[in-house]
């Protein structure tokens, strides 16, 4: 059923290639009903959709936590279905939504070293990898503190650091900003953008369209186990009906732009600055 690695080598630039992926949970819930998707090396891709859209199931298949019964998943040129979760962890890192589901060590440093240690790296290498991850997530100042006593935003950073310590080429972040305030969100996303600029492929799973508007390169809208839309960011905001059908809500300025489209405002506006500029330009033209 599942094609061997040799048959489905991705073209260069494709970090993940998924073909006709289906998944049904025990008990009959069809989570994925035939997903085709490529994730390119170095991009920041947002996978959006409401609860039950299949986005989390999809992510769990990418890093091997779930085994697809049909379809092919090729990650970095290798067939994911023939690899264990631990093997895949070197290629696909997955930071869970709730950091408290990961943290158990007595210091931040130990927590971050846990992953590379599990993968069997020598201790010197473990220390180097963990050090880099802590630097990337700006944890240097709190490396000796117990993770569980820290604030949510710190715990989230630690959980992400503990995944990137394994140096995966693809980093999946599941709702990384849940519970964070605006300032914490900005800080975290700056670190994530930096990781991305350094060449890491980022998959952002979220239902926060403002986050998508600000940080993503490409958007995949999932609904009911299928990919409804795969487009650049502005494209994803032009189709209001499609977003609503996928249990998503565009940001207020986008909604307003749609409402004002009869006056000549484009529908793909995603920031107040852009809308203000358009409004002022239109007013200037008319005067």
């Amino acid at each position: 059923m599942i094609p061997s690695t040799a048959q489905v080598m991705p073209r260069p630039g494709k970090m993940v290639s998924v073909r006709d992926l289906k998944f049904t949970y025990e008990g009959g819930v069809e989570a994925l009903r035939g997903v085709n998707l490529d994730i390119h090396e170095g991009e920041m891709l947002a996978i959006v959709g409401g609860n039950g859209s299949g986005k989390t199931t999809f992510a769990k298949i990418l890093n091997g936590l779930l085994r697809p019964p049909s379809g092919s998943v090729v990650v970095d040129g290798k067939n994911a279905s023939s690899m264990t979760v631990a093997e895949l962890a070197k290629t696909v890192g997955y930071a869970f939504q709730n950091p408290d589901h990961q943290l158990f060590s007595s210091t931040v440093e130990d927590e971050v070293r846990f992953g590379p240690r599990n993968l069997g790296y020598p201790e010197a290498e473990v220390a180097r990898m963990a050090g880099q991850a802590m630097d990337a997530m700006r944890l240097g100042a709190i490396r000796g503190l117990p993770p569980l006593s820290l604030r949510l935003s710190d715990r989230r950073r630690i959980s992400i650091a503990s995944v990137i310590a394994m140096d995966p080429k693809v980093l999946i972040l599941d709702e990384p900003t849940t519970g964070l305030d605006a300032a914490e969100t900005k800080n975290l996303m700056e670190s994530v953008s930096m990781l991305n600029r350094e060449g890491r492929t980022i998959v952002l799973i979220t239902h926060d369209m403002r986050l998508v508007a600000e940080y993503a390169h490409r958007v995949v809208v999932m609904s009911n186990g299928r990919v409804l839309l795969d487009s650049d960011v502005s494209g994803a905001f032009s189709d209001l009906a499609l977003l609503r059908q996928s249990s998503l809500e565009p940001p207020p300025v986008t909604l307003l732009a749609h409402g004002l489209s009869d006056h000549g405002i484009p529908k793909d506006i995603i920031s107040p600055q852009e809308l203000a500029l358009r409004l002022l330009m239109l007013r200037g033209e008319r005067q």
Binding site: K60, N63, L65, T84, V85, A86, A89, G93, Y94, F96, N98, D100, H101, Q102, L103, F104, F114, G115, P116, N118, L119, L148, S162, V163, M166
Partner: protein
């Protein structure tokens, strides 16, 4: 990876409609009966009655097999092992060194297996015809203190939540390269710390929140608490109770007052 499955099957049968108090009392009495009776034939009669009840509750075969699979295994073990460890009685059918297989021991083993089957089925009937909510309500009405009933209800309510949490924690650690079943026993038990600590932390947090939620909703405000739903005995409930008490009383009286061997 669901740790626990609610056995309750929604249906509208005589047994489902029965007052949970009657069902609880009946199950206790029938269990005692299964323990009192030693005679295989009498046990088989009881089993027949219990299976009749099972049919009355419209149990599906697949769910029954699923729920009682474990019990079937124990029954087979009893039938096989009992004669090996019980050398009493004659005639001796086989003798292998210190092991003596006798005919009465074989029958005793079979009787024991039937007894276990009766016990398990009776409790299974209670679980699949009574929602957890009614079960707790029945227990409280039978005299269990309200706070104990509430604690039981909360425990039952949070079992699936807890299952989801453990599953998520296990997945999160596997994503960090943790292989739970790899390595020597010591290494393996260390692996479980990575799952255990977040589980405990999460359970404690939930418990803290629960306590705030309970207090905010006037828990313990008054001793004369009222109840939206009350249990009412109807004549069918009384009749059912009478039938079960009679079924229990006749052999019990025969055994303890008339000293008949059963």
């Amino acid at each position: 990876m669901t740790v626990f499955v609610d056995l309750y099957t929604d249906a509208d049968t005589f047994l489902h409609r029965l007052d949970p108090r009657v069902k609880i009392v009946a199950v206790v009495l029938l269990s005692l009966l299964a323990l009192i009776i030693g005679n295989l034939v009498h046990l088989l009669v009881l089993l027949a009655f219990v299976l009749l009840l099972l049919a009355l509750g419209r149990a599906t075969l697949s769910k029954t097999v699923f729920a009682l699979k474990f019990v079937f295994r124990i029954m087979v073990m009893i039938v096989v092992l009992w004669p090996i460890f019980d050398p009493s009685g004659t005639p001796v059918l086989a003798e292998l060194g210190p092991v003596k297989i006798t005919e009465p021991a074989i029958w005793k083993g079979v009787a024991m297996a039937v007894r276990v089957c009766c016990l398990a089925t009776v409790w299974y009937i209670l679980m699949f015809t009574t929602s957890q909510r009614d079960l707790v309500r029945g227990l409280v009405k039978l005299g269990l203190r309200f706070d104990f009933g509430l604690a039981l209800a909360i425990a039952l309510r949070f079992i699936p939540t807890f299952g989801v949490t453990v599953e998520s924690i296990t997945d999160a650690q596997r994503a960090r390269g943790l292989e739970l079943d790899k390595g020597a026993p010591l290494r393996r038990s260390k692996n479980y710390v990575a799952v255990l600590v977040p589980t405990i932390v999460s359970a404690l947090r939930t418990a803290d929140m629960l306590s705030l939620a309970l207090q905010s909703r006037a828990y313990g405000a008054r001793p004369d608490r009222t109840y939206l739903r009350d249990l009412k005995m109807r004549w069918t409930d009384a009749l059912a109770l009478a039938v079960v008490v009679t079924i229990f009383a006749i052999p019990a009286i025969a055994k303890y007052l008339l000293d008949a061997s059963l």
